[in-house]
């Protein structure tokens, strides 16, 4: 079994009002020095019966086709076995 941990984030330069709001709340709570907060998505995709190499290929395609929108988002993923 292979678990892919997929991280999807807004591209640099795309305004993230949600992240900005969280940053403001942290400041209100007294956390000093928080320069920026970006809110993204974290997905865990579990694959069965595929090699690590095949899993990497498939997750790459999943990200390109569905999990991320290339107009506004970047993605990266890590694979974990077992």
């Amino acid at each position: 079994m292979i678990r892919a941990k997929v991280y999807v984030t807004l591209k640099k330069g795309v305004l993230d009002p949600q992240g900005e709001t969280v940053r403001g709340a942290l400041e209100t709570l007294g956390f000093a020095g928080v320069k920026d907060v970006r809110v993204g998505k974290f997905m865990v995709v579990t694959l069965n019966g595929v090699s690590r190499e095949e899993a990497s290929k498939r997750v790459e395609q999943m990200c390109k086709k569905l999990l991320a929108n290339p107009v506004i988002e970047d993605y990266r993923f890590e694979l974990e076995e077992g």
Binding site: L15, P17, I72
Partner: protein, 236 residues
């Protein structure tokens, strides 16, 4: 003219659209479930507002792969008319039938109110009934309406006259104050290069009868009927 209104699980403006097309315009409008694969009989398709597939992952991201979308793409390629309203606009962007994407409003709020939009191009099948620069009063009703596109594509959109509507003041001025959601360049609606696919965040179907406080949304529907554009023989 024969209109087809695509209904996804979670769509919720399909009956408003059907009402306007049938009762106000006197044209035929069928509701089409998203599993349908054949759309050959329709002249104009409408992708209505709502929350298709719960808007899970991203607005329109799952709907874009609904079975009906292959036929919607063919309709677009054949030059058939497609109107995407609100969530329908988001679906068309995800499907790549329109450039750009719709992001969360900068105002941190779901916005539901009437706004003013200026008609930027009347040479499209959707806007011939409008005067150049005419200001329409139409409601918006969304959480993710902030239009975004990369700078190079934006330049092309402006150059090719693909920006159809911009948020404006009642007098037609394009100002930051008139921009409800932080959209790039106040963009409220764009069309494709072929000008047969239009997406817009405002709801023209909710501004098509005096009883609802504005009739300026009707101009878009009247333009479509006036265009008389029927599905190309190739698609039949």
């Amino acid at each position: 003219m024969r209109f087809g209104i695509i209904v996804f699980p979670g769509s919720n403006c399909e009956l408003d659209c059907q009402w306007v097309v049938e009762r106000v315009l006197g044209q035929q409008a069928d509701l089409i479930w998203h599993k349908e694969k054949d759309l050959k009989d329709y002249d104009c398709l409408i992708l209505p507002g709502g929350f298709a597939h719960g808007d899970y992952l991203r607005t329109g991201a799952i709907a874009r792969f609904s079975p009906v979308m292959k036929a919607v793409e063919r309709h677009a390629e054949d030059g058939g008319l497609i109107l995407g309203i609100c969530n329908g606009f988001q679906v068309l962007c995800e499907a790549g039938l329109l450039p750009g994407a719709l992001l969360r409003n900068t105002s941190l709020a779901f916005i539901c109110r009437h706004v003013h939009v200026r008609v930027e191009n009347t040479a499209t099948p959707f806007t011939t009934a409008c005067r150049p620069g005419q200001v329409l009063r139409v409601p918006i009703n969304h959480n993710e309406g902030r239009y975004y596109v990369d700078p190079e594509t934006l330049r092309q959109l402006n150059e090719k006259g693909q920006v159809i509507l911009r948020y404006a003041t009642t007098g037609g001025e394009i100002t930051d104050g008139a921009n409800p959601n932080g959209s790039l360049d106040n963009i409220a609606g764009v069309c494709n290069e072929g000008r047969n696919v239009l997406g817009l965040m405002p709801h023209p179907e909710r501004a098509a009868e005096a009883l609802l406080g504005s009739t300026s949304g009707l101009l878009l529907f009247e333009s479509i009927v006036r265009s008389g554009r029927t599905a190309s023989p190739m698609s039949r």
